[in-house]
Each structure stands twice: as C-alpha cells, then as structure tokens.
Symmetry: C2
Subunit: 222 residues, 2 copies
DNA sequence: AAAATAATCTCATTATAAGAGATTAATAAA
DNA sequence: TTTATTAATCTCTTATAATGAGATTATTTT
C-alpha cells in the first residue's frame, strides 16, 4: 500500500489474481515470492530460443578447450542480459548466470555490440555511458570513443581487462542478424592465465564461432 | 485474432504493452518471442529462493558422490516443477532442467510428496491420478494406493523404476515445511548401475539430506 | 511511381477495475 | 473456552480505462 498507493481491496485482488495465475506465490509468514509461472516461462523461453540451441555446442567446445566461462549475451535495444552461460571450472572468476544484467558502458560484450551499431543507434549510448567508457580507458572525447569502436569493428572482437569483474579478461564478438548485432559471444578467462598469445588465439576462435552462430541463426530465422 | 478473438487494434495494444514492458519481444519476420523480463524474473526468483540456496551444496555433494542427476522439485499445490538440477555426467539418463514440469501421478518425486500430504489434500489427487498410479503398479484400489503411500511415509523415501524416464531410477524424499511437504529432493541414477545395496545407500543419504534441508529452510523462514 | 498491404492512431461506447465500507475468518488475550 | 483484536475477503457504486469501428499513416510490392 505504501509503495504503490493502492488500497487494501485492490491489492488483495491484484495478489489474488497473480497467485491464481501462478506468477506469485505466498510463502510462510504472509510473505510473497515469484511463482511457478515465472519458472515455467523462462524454461519455455530457453527451449524456444534458436540462438541458445545454435550457440550451446560452441560454448561447450570453447569451455572444453580453455579454462574459461563462455557466455551468450542478448542485446535488447537498451540493455544486455546473459541468456546462456557455461563454465569450465566450478569456481569461475566471473559468474554471469542466465538473467543477470550486464553493464552497458563497460566490458568486452558491450563494446562488441556497440562497435557494430549504426551511428544513429550508437550515439545516444555513447552519450549516456560516456563516464563509464571514459573510466575504463576507451577514450575521453566522443571522437576517441568512436575511433576505439571503429578499431573493434575492424578487428571483429573486443577485449577488456577487468572492466566488469576485477581480474577477469573478456573477449567478445558480436552475433549479427541482418548486419545488426543481436547478441554477443564472450569468453572470460582469469587475468593471471592471460598472455598476448593466448588472447590472440581465443580472439580468433571467438570471432569465428560468432560468425558461425550468426550464419546459422540467420538461416534459421530467415 | 483467431486464437483469442480480439480485434486487431486490441492485440496491437496488448503486444505493444508487452513489448514495452519487456515480457515479449519481436523477432525477425514479424514474429514474437518471450522477452528479457521473463529471463530477469527467473533470475530474481532463483536468487531469492532460500530453498535453492540451502539445497545447492547438497546437490553438489550428491552428484559428486554418485553418477546421477540431483533435483529439487517444488510442489505448487496442483503441480510440481523442477527448480534446481545438477548432473554428474554430461549426458544424464534423465534431464529435468529448471522449469520443466513433472508428472503428478508417476515417479518417486510425486509419491514422496503425496505420502506426506494430509488425507484431505491427498484424496483428490489419488482420484485424479488413479489411472497413472495404477499403471505404474502402486495399487489398484484407492486403499492399495493409500497403503503404498503409507509405506513411503514410514520409510521416508520413495523409489521408482523407470516411471518417468525409461531406464532411470528415482529416489526421492520430501522437504517439509511445518510438517507439510513443500518440495522434494530426488536422485536419479541409470537403471543398469542400480542394485539393491546402492539404492539403499542413496536412499539413506537422500532422506538425511532432505531432513537437513527441511530443518535449515524452516530456520530461515520461521 | 502507383498500388497494395500492414501498422498505428482517434474517438465514442462499453466493460471493468477501484475504493468505501461491511462482513467474515483467524488469531491473541483474558 | 470466551472475548477482543486484527487480518482477510466480499459487495456495490462510481470512475476509469479498455474495446472495436473506422480513419490515417507507414511500409512493401508491383
């Protein structure tokens, strides 16, 4: 009542309706929690997402080849969200399970997507996240940032050192749908394992895997 | 329009509203899919569920000890749903990821819960799922079924051979909240590995783990 | 460039949700 | 066990918001 300003009978009906439809459930002590419908819907979402089906074998292959965490992160226009994640080790340096939001202004994933955005879509983001982008050393002026993103676009992968998780190196390449980024494939490795040669090798693999996923997804949804 | 009988402008608004709130997203070719909000909500649900937090170490311990799949299945009054699942092997005999509904009339999990239900809650289920219960050999008449459930209750675990997944043995014990079953802990092993001695050993572990989870959950939510 | 189709908007009507208050159930105190 | 207190649920009127017909604008297709 305090939070939403509705009266008792109204909230009673809301909660009853949400309970009856399974989106909310009541727990001990008159509390409420998200209900079974949420769990089922995410299951349906996972099962019906062609991107996850296509990408999973690649994530498995990459986590088998390197001690890393492999992620698929979807781009939803204004935010990015991990939708699939596999780790080689039980205690990975970086833990981004499905559903955990990722920052839009920092990290390899965000840059791998921004670098492939058309200028019109990109500029509002550069403005909005200017402080974040500056703080991680991408560039000070908008022109510097744009130049850095142009380099990412040319190379096809973005690399970030501890921008999202301290001590973790992220290597990400965009998954493109009709030329526009719809998601990103990212490999995260522990900073102490990382050296230039390893990063280059993983970068090449990530770029190629993202390319294959893009092509397969495009075939599927065409 | 065919499915729901609404007119075009109404469905346009529905879809727009669902898209704006992120529950639905549009995909290539004018199609729709479940959106980011669903994914985020399931993440919140996982993070805030004390049962999952408490049970996860037990699932990890059990999957490390035996080649099996360990599940936590929540009971929602009228249906049961897997909410947490860990497998020892990459290709487990039985695959029940989070969100996949489980049958209510068959299997160790269903029986482990039904056996601990008060008679008033139990009877409608026995009637509703009589055919299923009969088909898996629990009993023919309601009295036989009740007697079988009473045995489960005395022993504290339910064991089922290939009732849900052919070739899989399920061993389940209820997680009790204030004396009432709220979930079930289940270990699934491949039928060919199973022998009486192993099943007895796992049964004892499952019963004890479920007891510990119940006690810890009760302490948390009291 | 024109035609056809799909997407979005406007507005009057209708249906439905909101809140006030009453009633019933559940819990605590005597 | 009875009474007092609090919480949960229900009923009904009013006000609000959703609906669908049709118009308008955008997007493809020819």
């Amino acid at each position: 009542m305090n939070e939403l300003g509705y009266t008792r009978p109204t909230l009673y009906r809301y909660l009853k309706s949400l309970k009856d439809s399974g989106f909310v459930m009541s727990t001990r002590g008159g509390r409420f929690a998200l209900g079974p419908r949420v769990v089922e819907m995410d299951y349906l979402s996972r099962r019906s997402d062609p991107l996850i089906a296509i990408a999973t074998p690649h994530l498995e292959r990459l986590t088998a080849a390197y001690p890393c965490t492999a992620l698929i992160v979807r781009w939803y226009g204004d935010k990015i969200l991990c939708v699939a994640s596999i780790a080689s080790t039980v205690n990975p340096v970086s833990s981004y399970p499905r559903g955990r939001p990722m920052p839009m202004g920092r990290g390899a994933i965000a840059r791998s997507i921004m670098a492939f955005l058309p200028k019109q879509r990109l500029m509002p983001l550069v403005t909005r996240y200017a402080a974040d982008l500056r703080s991680v050393g991408v560039g000070d002026a908008p022109d510097d940032i744009l130049a850095a993103l142009k380099r990412v676009r040319r190379v096809g992968v973005a690399v970030a050192f501890g921008e999202v998780t301290p001590g973790a190196v992220g290597i990400a390449a965009p998954i493109l749908d009709a030329g526009y980024p719809s998601a990103s494939l990212c490999i995260t490795i522990a900073g102490q394992h990382a050296n230039g040669e390893l990063i280059d090798r993983i970068s090449a693999e990530v770029r190629e895997a993202a390319r294959q996923i893009s092509a397969a997804a495009e075939r599927e949804t065409a």
